[in-house]
């Protein structure tokens, strides 16, 4: 960890509190620094480019400078004389069917995370997958995607992926591997597989499960273990506890009016999250004639996307949540009254009363759900409460587990380690996963691993685990291999490859087949044969083709299951949770690199994390009050000591974090991730034990006095003006439907010196519904993938030079300790009176006939005047050659319909003009107008909640035109009379009057 060079002003949190108090919570703020009005914040606010952002900071010697100058002068002179180089066209020898050069094809497949699949459509240009879209017919996707699906194409083309079979670090071959393991397998055959162990991550693939059955026939004593760090173990244990059986719980938010989420972040990536987000936000849309809203209560220790959407959010230490759940359960009669001896302390007591009353009024239309980070007993309580409220069968349904073999992952790994310890394991085959890095620290997995005589690892990267293995086999990426997987509701998708393995990778199916003595069987044959064996109807070919085309196998969603009525173990003399002493440590999967598997994905690394807005790093998240008590400030490096283990981590103050609880995200601090991921952040796994996989108390924090610079984008592109994000309550809206309009003065359109444009055909516009936006970032990555947007690296981000065309601004309102959180997607506004257009000296940014604010890269000379004049700060400048035009595999990644920008060129959102042009050409070929919905921008397509609507505002029947007529509609910085085409619908909250102190609305 390098000490930071940057000096920042220390914040006086007491003064901040006083200031927020004085403003009576009416003010929206982006960060603590903004409230404190520090110099650093002013820098980002008043200057488009922060101080010296335009300068070359890296140390350059005089000699190097002269070399560079000389070279650039020579090149500048020569380039003017160069002629276009000769290009070749390489046609097919035999053209494949259905391939039309220049037209993309879409193939339905699925991308699993933690074994649970989301259906996607992969866009393929001449055989190259370049972009992932959601599969509208898939129940988990409904056409939307999450950040991980969007970034999958970059992982596919990652030049750091392992490219050869290696044996003890030396290049080898697949056939050498087969020879090498054949002797070991023969020995195992004689021992009935007693020394053979296979370790996988969560498996929902029916084909793989069938292969394991076959393995069990050949090697009856072999064992299959499963381990991955982020699982639903606690939920399964809770179901066993309450219902006596393993179930998969599915929530129907489309029927839920009151939702209580106990540390359950159902809007962040996880099983069914896209579907849940869609159903949840659909019940919050307030439109003309429809004024009902659901209500969400969230109790959480670490601010999450779900907490930010909550109508009421209560930060609570994780160990206290069980007591809260028990209190709610008791009040609702779900458990016996004597089970909760003492009253809840303040401030939880009024919460319990209010929540309980609300739930009671919404029997059968409420949901109580619990996050996988909470212990099984809390899950059991939720089952009991849902049962007592009559929600089961309505908003909550149970099915059989989606996993092929549901096991407790920690127990499974522990059993494996104990077997190794006992000398029972001769051969360990790891199909994916990276247990050396992700295993709990107390299992000492890496030390035990080296006791196994033959270790084989199948992985996308030569990572921490493969470094300790005899054999490493490059794994085929999910877009390169045949497989199948189940979605959150059990729906099976057959995954088809979009491209032949780039580096001869093998799938888990193929490696398992090799263990079964069939190394020549292709993944295609394995998957197809399995499905053929399961098919009972006549025409298998027809079934197979339909399943592949649709991206799902019909009627495979698991049937609802009746369960016995839940029972919750009583406290049985245990002391109920008195406030625990000492600091608590909380572990969370990282919102962008997850458990570390995406650490080498630059798009995800540079994606600002939804709430902290940190990039390229994780941090120890503390509440402002706890930091104040400990005398810590942002970016200060502390030593976290937990159960005799220590890591050093930078501190980050996060408003809304529970007091006395420190959250650290998994997935960082990897030492063999690749060029991008190695050395970012600190390793939270070093503190994680199998006893406390999600939280535990007894953490000590010791300041080191060092500082570590974190790159956060929370101040970047700050706008100055009033009412940027507009929020009201449902009650207020019903009383005064036009309160949003009245918040700002709208100048008359003719009050301008700019020439007026007439739009005869289409006039493109976009409306963003802040009430539906959950801040998930899918749009940002979708835009990055669609528009060939480069990443710039941590140092450049710290200078405010990140290139995302679409950013999500996060605003707080209220106190430091429990603020309301709001997200606002900001992209180019495509102003009708665009301030950028008039200042460009070379006409590189001009108005199109359809009202787009065109950016012409080949004209741009990089004066950056446009950017300086943009009040929304949505223009991005290529200060350096950010786009990697050298790495061959990354060339295949690019969208061929969008120019790759070079250094010295300004860029910004184009409203996906390439998609508009395609739609226009298709419409004109058919001699018709472009229909509403023909143009779907990349961000719109990815959005799980449909918060972004794009279309023709000249057509009064288009969705966007109708939204522009809604009373909640407003323009950002309307007082400047820029007349943006991108506009917003204000956010409404639906607070419970019992929990809201009466206040003035502003």
């Amino acid at each position: 960890m390098k000490p930071s060079q940057r000096q920042t002003t220390p914040l006086d949190l007491g003064a901040l509190r006083a200031r927020l108090q004085a403003e009576q919570g009416q003010q929206y703020w982006r960060s603590l620094e903004e409230v404190a009005a520090t110099r650093e914040f002013a820098e980002f606010l008043y200057r488009e480019f922060p101080h010296q952002a335009a300068e070359w900071h890296d140390p350059v010697s005089r000699r190097r400078f002269l070399q560079l100058m000389g070279a650039s002068l020579a090149l500048a002179g020569l380039s003017a004389c160069s002629r276009q180089p000769e290009e070749h066209i390489m046609p097919y020898v035999r053209a494949p069917e259905e391939m039309v050069p220049g037209k993309p094809l879409f193939f339905a497949t699925a991308l699993p995370l933690g074994g649970i699949a989301n259906g996607v459509l992969a866009e393929s240009h001449m055989g190259r997958p370049t972009k992932i879209e959601g599969n509208p017919e898939h129940p988990a996707s409904l056409g939307a995607t999450d950040v991980f699906a969007q970034a999958a194409v970059l992982s596919l083309y990652d030049p750091d992926r392992s490219q050869v079979v290696s044996n003890a670090g030396r290049i080898s071959t697949w056939s050498a591997f087969l020879t090498a393991i054949s002797a070991a397998l023969e020995t195992q055959r004689l021992k009935k597989g007693a020394g053979l162990r296979v370790l996988t991550e969560t498996v929902t693939s029916l084909t793989l499960a069938a292969q394991f059955e076959a393995l069990r026939t050949t090697f009856p004593l072999a064992a299959w273990h499963q381990y991955e760090p982020v699982t639903r173990d606690t939920a399964r244990a809770g179901a066993r506890l309450a219902l006596g059986e393993e179930v998969n719980t599915i929530y129907h938010f489309d029927k839920a009016d009151v939702i209580l989420a106990l540390e359950a972040d159902f809007l962040s990536p996880g099983p069914g999250s896209l579907r849940y987000a869609r159903d949840f936000t659909a019940k919050r849309q307030v439109r003309a004639g429809h004024t009902a809203m659901n209500r969400l209560y969230v109790i959480e220790s670490t601010p999450s996307l779900t907490g930010a959407m909550a109508d009421h959010c209560l930060p609570l230490r994780p160990s206290m949540i069980a007591a809260f759940a028990r209190a709610v359960a008791r009040e609702l009669g779900a458990i016996a009254a004597h089970d909760m001896p003492s009253e809840m302390p303040e401030p939880q007591a009024p919460w319990v009363r209010a929540v309980v009353r609300d739930l009671q009024q919404h029997r059968q239309t409420s949901v109580v759900l619990v996050g996988e980070q909470q212990p099984p007993v809390v899950h059991a309580l939720a089952h009991a409460v849902n049962h007592a409220l009559g929600n089961v069968g309505n908003t909550v349904v149970y099915t059989a587990p989606v996993e092929a073999q549901p096991v407790d992952h920690l127990e499974s790994l522990d059993a494996l380690v104990r077997d190794i310890e006992a000398g029972k394991v001769d051969m360990l085959v790891m199909l994916g996963g990276n247990p050396v890095y992700t295993a709990p620290a107390n299992l000492h997995f890496s030390e035990w691993l080296s006791k196994v005589k033959l270790r084989v690892h199948l992985g996308l990267y030569e990572d921490e685990t493969s470094a300790l293995c005899h054999w490493h086999i490059p794994e085929a990426h999910a877009l390169e291999a045949w497989s199948d997987a189940r979605a959150y509701d059990g729906t099976v998708s057959i995954m088809q490859p979009l491209i032949a393995p780039l580096y001869g990778g093998k799938s888990a199916h193929e490696l398992l087949a090799a263990l079964l003595g069939q190394p020549e069987r292709s993944g295609y044959a394995i998957v197809r044969d399995y499905w053929q064996s399961q098919h009972h109807g006549e025409n298998f070919e027809r079934f197979w083709r339909t399943a592949l085309h649709d991206g799902l196998v019909p009627d495979t969603a698991l049937p609802h299951r009746e369960t016995k009525s839940p029972s919750v173990p009583t406290l049985a003399g245990e002391q109920p949770a008195a406030a625990p002493q000492g600091l608590e440590l909380i572990f969370r999967p990282d919102p962008t690199v997850w458990d570390g598997r995406f650490a080498n994905n630059g798009w995800l690394q540079e994606l600002p994390k939804p709430l902290t807005k940190l990039t390229w790093d994780n941090a120890a998240l503390l509440s402002p009050a706890t930091a104040e008590r400990l005398g810590l400030r942002n970016e200060e490096v502390v030593e976290l000591r937990y159960q005799g283990r220590t890591v050093r981590a930078p501190v980050w103050l996060l408003p809304g974090q529970a007091d006395e609880a420190v959250t650290i995200h998994l997935g960082y601090g990897r030492w063999r991730a690749g060029k991008v991921g190695t050395g970012t952040g600190f390793n939270a796994y070093a503190l994680r034990t199998s006893e406390a996989p999600w939280f535990g108390s007894g953490l000590e924090i010791h300041p080191t006095g060092e500082r570590y610079a974190l790159a956060t984008t929370q101040h970047h592109h700050s706008m100055e003006g009033r009412h940027l994000v507009r929020v009201g309550t449902l009650e207020h809206f019903l009383a005064q439907p036009h309160f949003v309009h009245d918040m700002a003065h709208m100048p008359a359109p003719e009050l301008t010196l700019y020439p007026q444009h007439a739009y005869e055909g289409s006039a493109w516009g976009m409306a963003i519904d802040l009430n539906a936006c959950i801040g998930c970032n899918a749009c940002t990555i979708a835009c990055q993938a669609e528009n060939n947007i480069p990443i710039v690296g941590k140092t450049e981000v710290a200078r405010g030079r990140e290139m995302h065309w679409l950013r999500i601004d996060r605003y707080y309102k209220g106190t430091l300790d429990n603020p309301e959180t709001y997200h606002q997607v900001v992209l180019c506004m495509h102003c009708e009176n665009a301030p950028c257009e008039v200042v460009c000296p070379v006409a590189a940014t001009v108005h199109s006939s359809e009202g787009l604010n065109d950016m012409v890269y080949n004209r741009c000379v990089g004066t950056r005047y446009c950017s300086n004049n943009c009040p929304y700060k949505v223009r991005r400048f290529n200060f350096l050659q950010y786009a990697d035009d050298q790495t061959p595999s990354l060339k295949a990644l690019r969208n061929p319909n969008v120019t790759v920008r070079t250094r010295g060129v300004m860029e910004k959102c184009t409203y996906c003009v390439q998609r508009i042009n395609v739609a226009r050409i298709e419409a004109e070929k058919e001699n018709r107008h472009i229909r509403d919905g023909d143009v779907v921008t990349a961000c719109q397509a990815a959005c799980p909640t449909g918060a972004i609507v794009f279309g023709n505002i000249n057509d009064p029947h288009s969705r966007v035109a109708r939204l522009r007529g809604e009373p909640l509609h407003y323009s950002l910085l309307a007082e400047l009379n820029t007349r943006p085409r991108t506009t917003y619908l204000a956010k409404l909250r639906n607070p419970n009057p019992a929990l809201t102190p009466p206040q003035e609305h502003g």
Binding site: R83, Q84, E86, E87, H88, I89, M90, P91, Y92, V93, R94, A95, V100, P101, G102, K103, G761, V846, S848, S849, E850, L852, D854, V856, Y857, N858, N897, V898, T899, T910, V913, Q914, I916, N917, I921, E924, K925, N927
Partner: protein, 216 residues
């Protein structure tokens, strides 16, 4: 002391001022002329190809339609270069042994593409779409020239932006009835401008000159 400058110096001074202006104008003209010359635009430069394929022979000699080889011209942005298989549809029967066609046979045998040299090479920041131009009644000949008279291909037009814009501003000067788009020798039976104006109306041709129509 004698005068340094004689009265005639005035004339020289005037001449040199005018001369300088003239010189600058000439320089500017030269630069523009060079930019538009085939030296830069490579218009009219015959390309050597791996196989000396003659459009003249195949189009005017045999009468093969453009779309037999350039199959996607009506539906996609790119017209498409035929796969080796298309050549061999005929050349397994005719000229099956010709040494000139050896690269084609090798391509089929070894499953490697023929590397044709691109003749019409737009800059990479230009996104041209064949299908819409064909649909709106732009003849192949308008941009590609009389291909049926080219033994080896060359670029007929400069492909400069001003050349694109000439038509995007005044499509009536170039548009032709859809039925004759693929015709090599179509001539308007009436006045082109009269016909053009009619067709612009009929085909709903918009004069698209916004930057993002081609650049993005």
């Amino acid at each position: 002391m004698a005068q340094i400058f004689r009265p005639s110096t005035n004339t020289f001074a005037r001449l040199s001022i005018f001369g300088a202006v003239f010189l600058l104008a000439v320089l500017a003209w030269v630069v523009l002329a060079v930019n538009r010359s085939p030296y830069v635009t490579e218009a009219g430069v015959v390309r050597r190809q791996p196989v000396p394929f003659s459009h003249k022979h195949h189009v005017s000699g045999i009468g093969i339609d453009c779309r037999y080889c350039h199959t996607s011209v009506e539906e996609s942005a790119v017209a498409g270069i035929p796969p080796t298989k298309t050549c061999m549809n005929c050349h397994t029967q005719i000229w099956a042994e010709s040494p000139m066609l050896e690269p084609v046979r090798t391509s089929l045998r070894t499953d490697t593409s023929l590397a044709w040299v691109r003749v019409h090479d737009l800059p990479d920041f230009v996104y041209f779409d064949h299908s819409i131009h064909v649909q709106k009644g732009m003849g192949c000949v308008t941009c590609h020239g009389r291909v049926d008279e080219m033994p080896l291909m060359w670029r007929q037009q400069s492909l400069l932006m001003e050349w694109c814009l000439a038509c995007h501003r005044e499509p009536e000067r170039f548009v032709r009835p859809r039925a004759f788009v693929f015709s090599m020798d179509w001539k308007p039976s009436e006045d082109q401008l009269t016909l053009g104006r009619k067709l612009v109306q009929e085909y709903h041709i918009a004069k698209r000159t916004s930057c993002s129509v081609c650049h993005r």
